[in-house]
């Protein structure tokens, strides 16, 4: 099922589970991976999100399906992040493993550095960066999704940019 065909199906009403999975599961998985730094846990979060979708059958507003899925995913990531286990295991050994396409290996040092730097941001900064730059949500949409003020979203984005700039500059100097 292609993304285009799924988008075309929107005219016929609500998206099915298959369509939602096809469209957004990888985004949920990757955002969770950015957040947690563990493929296994990111898959667990993705699983939890879609099981919740199937078992709770929420009334999703058309066009806001991805926001709901990412909101549930980020809540789950936050819960996991707060647990002492993950603080010990992940924070103690920060890492960001790449899963590149075979022909991309060896020509993506800069890209890897940015992705890694994003993954090392504090959760509150990482969330807004991922939603804004990676998932393409607006400041207003992010504020609604995270239930914080728009001004808070903007200031977090600004501070996140400063932190990334500082970290990447440090890398270049080394």
């Amino acid at each position: 099922m292609s993304r285009q065909s799924v988008e075309a199906d929107r005219s016929s009403g609500k998206l099915s589970f298959d369509q939602l999975y096809e469209l957004y599961a990888t985004d949920v998985l990757r955002v969770s991976y950015y957040y947690l730094g563990s493929r296994e846990m990111a898959e667990d979060v993705t699983q939890d999100v879609f099981v919740k979708l199937l078992s709770n059958r929420p009334e999703l507003e058309e066009g806001k399906e991805k926001a709901w899925l990412l909101k549930v995913a980020l809540n789950r990531c936050r819960d996991l992040w707060r647990s002492s286990w993950i603080r010990k295991v992940i924070l103690g050994h920060p890492g960001f493993e790449c899963f590149p396409a075979p022909d991309e290996i060896g020509k993506m040092a800069d890209q890897y550095a940015l992705a890694e730097a994003v993954s090392h941001l504090k959760p509150e900064f990482k969330e807004v960066v991922l939603l804004f730059y990676y998932q393409g949500f607006s400041v207003t949409e992010i504020a609604e999704l995270l239930q914080i003020a728009e001004g808070t979203v903007s200031s977090r984005l600004s501070r996140a940019r400063e932190k990334l700039q500082s970290e990447l500059k440090g890398d270049e100097e080394q």
Binding site: Q47, F50, A101, L114, V129, Q135
Partner: protein, 189 residues
């Protein structure tokens, strides 16, 4: 930070191999099949409804039976094997209140733990029971007992639990290290 604008493209490259595939999807579908739906609509079906009423009635009768005190009203040399209580305290924990004697109205003549000792000081016995009533907390129910706890009242009733320090076991299991500590102190005296 112009590179941030390309985070989508960059992520698609660096995390190219991290995709939600059919294996994960099948796992989700399997798990969802085992998870009860929360918003299932209930339609009127006379036979299942009758069945539900019947089951509810049976459960109510069983529950009411379990809430009856296990202590007999007839005085005499009767041993009661305490089944434990389904009553709950404010925090939702099971307690022993409906099984244990009322220390304000029932005189407790003896408390014994075979292999450990016994005390027949009425005041101390009352204190020990009060400690159980107040401090016991629901615990893991998979504990294997190694002896008994007999609480004997003046009318000859023996309320018996299984124990393995610090656990007191009826049909549930409660942890109460304070009780055992006080019991040991009473033996020293």
């Amino acid at each position: 930070m112009n590179k941030l604008d390309d985070l989508r493209t960059i992520t698609d490259r660096v995390l190219y191999g991290l995709t939600a595939d059919e294996t994960l999807k099948n796992k989700i579908l399997r798990n969802a099949a085992q998870t009860p739906e929360k918003h299932k609509k209930i339609s009127f079906q006379p036979v299942p409804l009758f069945g539900m009423v019947l089951v509810a009635l049976i459960i109510t009768v069983l529950a009411v039976n379990r809430l009856q005190p296990v202590r007999p009203s007839t005085p005499g040399e009767i041993t009661v094997f305490a089944a434990g209580s389904e009553e709950k305290d404010e925090s939702g924990n099971n307690d022993l209140v409906s099984v244990l004697p009322e220390t304000s109205s029932d005189a407790i003549s003896k408390i014994e733990i075979p292999g450990l000792g016994m005390t027949d000081d009425p005041n101390l016995c009352a204190r020990l029971v009060d400690v159980l009533r107040e401090k016991a907390e629901t615990a893991d129910s998979s504990v294997d007992a190694d002896t008994d706890l007999n609480i004997i009242t003046d009318d000859g009733t023996v309320i018996r639990f299984s124990v393995k320090e610090p656990f007191v076991i009826g049909d549930k299991c409660w942890s109460c290290p304070e009780f055992f500590e006080l019991f040991r102190q009473s033996l020293v005296k």
